[in-house]
Symmetry: C2
Subunit: 424 residues, 2 copies
């Protein structure tokens, strides 16, 4: 193991040492079977339960420090652990243990003209860096998804959760190592020095991918500074377009759900586009306003209800994450598609329509990671997509898009079997 | 179209303008059918033939300028076009036209617990930047692969081929636009200013992926400076391990082919590992030496033949791209795997063995893009893998690895079809 104290003054050397240890551990992990990895995750869940008192004690220290630093109630709530939440974290580990192991899957198989047998076989990516804020459950959740897919993890949690994260990791490590997982398979950066985060972001060739989990400013910094590939989304500016042929009751139900079920999640609708030929727009905006949502509209939207305030140009590019919604009236599909192309963040956009051709055109032409017909954009979630969990939602164009779970934490290699072929 | 002259003093504005035009063209391209794209590529092939005189005339200018600048014979040969080579370029376009269109393929299909119908559908990546040297055929080859997969291309060729590249692009554009491809779908950077290459490398959000095609110094610069994802390999330090249980005749044939068939390609063997228990190592090195190969060996390898010169420590990390080979004697599989892990560039590594367990262990534990059993590493090629063509070979860990053709130029989106589901 790297002597971490020796490098405390040199963040790059610290990260390089941790990364080398992590990569060595990953090579051992890559040789563990499906059953061994699953057993290790179950042992980690049990260790979390066994160490409940230690973890809650550490968490109390973080909460006390947070209160002293004047963290908001919402932040303290995200930080807070109790028996029930800890049991939730342990159960999530067991859930990840029960997911199918993606490693070893044969993605494609063919015979080359030369008679070579070609297979693309799924393998782990390597060492994944996770940079996150507040919620200590990410320590366990992210580590579990990495391990299940044969990757090592280098974690960097927020300073406000430093004791909780360490206590959770210690318990995890106790369980995992019992079942043969090397200790360095999951490591927590031992310093809150921001320069160490910078060193992680620059560690191309040592860290294979970085997943930021947190607010927009964290993701922005990671995307701007990283030399390592990043899996992330910056914004969730999600649109719902109520087409002329939408069924009015469905449109009302979906608009209210997409905005108000949980306004603060990345899949929440931020802009509602109402077709000028849709006859019941007033009903939709009325339901949203009655539900307590502030509506900011263009001229034609404002004409639908006197409670709608004027939208500024910035509103069309704003992720409110709150009970606020921008509303525009559009003239048909072309106009709707132009608005989405100009303002969507590429996360999730939806249409409500009973016209199959309109639905297909929207699915084909909207260039977002997730495009939906007749469903609430709040479904944009790995669990809801049946992936069992998610490491995050990605809006980049390469590797993996939308909700990313175990498959997105793998890559492949070509395995080629010959019988002595030399190339002509 | 962007007024290119207005931006000649501002490389960033030039690249941004070209990229915006390219992205707009790509959106039109994405709506073209398989048949339309194929017809456009066939029309481009015909236009190349029709403009043979123009293209060869432009090429003669480049050759004359190259002779004046004192380019080596090898470089002049790579630059040189004649009727036969031009016909080869046209035929390659027709070949790409005949490949199956990857766009629209349903990668996965499932039903979520909520009843949502989920499909991952293959789509183009967007705008691909290609930065290349010397060979003017890349202008046509790379553009064709991008177009076949629905992507726009922004090309930057080498200064030595500036007239040839422009003449080829003009002919391509004439053919493509006849069949409805927008003119900006394939663009050539109109300046040889190196700052414009820098602007391409930094154009995150405008260019979706960059593929460098050329020598190591070009690839190195692109990998170091790019803020856009890069698909590339830097080195092809490929190993062949002759296991104790290798069939001697096969080992000799494969070692000679892997090194000497074409020593200058990235899949050529650069290091030969001979197992100390393999009884016929002297025969293998003898055949290589007799074939005109310089061998640089460790102590035990040198003992096999007096013609083997001593290897320096740098030899194990050197891609010769020539009739030179480093040779080490290793003690069994563990030793061989350690050597490969320490020195492979992750491109292609091979084992020769009749022992199925040894073969499987090598396939499982060598962490390279391509791992081969009983075959020459010179098969590392998209054409030989049955992909029909290749845009390049990638040794990165994300998105696509090994030979990359049309599939690697695509990504996917989630298409979600509901019947009015709101999230609970």
């Amino acid at each position: 193991m790297t002597d971490q104290t020796a490098f405390s003054a040199d963040p790059e050397a610290l990260v390089a040492g941790l990364a080398r240890d992590g990569r060595a551990a990953q090579r051992q992990l890559a040789r563990m079977s499906d059953g061994q990895k699953a057993a290790a995750l179950r042992a980690a869940a049990q260790a979390l339960r066994d160490h409940e008192a230690d973890i809650l004690h550490a968490n109390a220290k973080d909460i006390a420090a947070g209160q002293e630093r004047g963290l908001t109630g919402a932040l303290l709530d995200r930080l807070k652990l109790d028996g029930e939440r800890l049991e939730g974290i342990a159960a999530a580990l067991e859930n990840v243990a029960s997911l199918p192991d993606p490693v070893g899957e044969v993605i494609s198989k063919s015979e080359a003209p030369s008679g070579l047998d070609l297979q693309r076989v799924r393998i782990p990516i390597g060492l994944i860096g996770i940079i996150y804020e507040s919620r200590p459950n990410v320590t366990a959740d992210a580590a579990a998804l990495c391990l299940r897919s044969g990757n090592a993890a280098l974690l960097r949690g927020g300073s406000e959760a430093v004791h909780s994260n360490r206590a959770i990791l210690d318990a995890l490590t106790e369980g995992l190592t019992k079942e043969g997982v090397p200790e360095a398979a999951v490591q927590l950066l031992p310093t809150q020095d921001r320069a160490a985060v910078g060193a992680m972001l620059k560690a191309a060739g040592l860290i294979d991918m970085i997943v930021p989990r947190g607010g927009k400013s964290l993701v922005e910094r990671v995307q701007n500074d990283a030399r390592v590939p990043v899996l992330a989304h910056l914004d969730g500016i999600c649109h719902t377009y109520v087409h002329a042929a939408a069924e009015p009751g469905m449109a009302e139900k979906l608009a209210v759900n997409a905005k108000l079920r949980r306004p603060g999640i990345c899949g929440a609708m931020e802009t509602l586009l109402l077709d000028s030929q849709f006859p019941e727009s007033a009903r939709i905006v009325g339901a949203l306003l009655d539900g307590g949502c502030e509506l900011r509209g263009d001229k034609r939207a404002q004409a639908l209800d006197s409670r709608i305030v004027p939208a500024s140009p910035e509103d069309w590019d704003t992720e409110y994450l709150d009970a606020i919604l921008s509303v525009a009236v559009v003239d048909g599909m072309d106009d709707a598609l132009s608005h989405v192309a100009a303002h969507s963040s590429g996360h999730t956009d939806a249409i409500v329509t009973s016209d199959a051709d309109a639905a297909q055109r929207f699915l084909d032409e909207v260039d977002s990671a997730i495009v939906m017909v007749n469903a609430s954009s709040q479904f944009a979630d790995g669990g809801e997509f049946g992936l069992g969990a998610e490491i995050g939602i990605a809006t980049g164009r390469l590797h993996a898009r939308g909700p990313v779970a175990l498959e997105g934490l793998t890559t492949y290699k070509w395995q080629v079997r010959g019988t002595g072929q030399a190339r002509a």
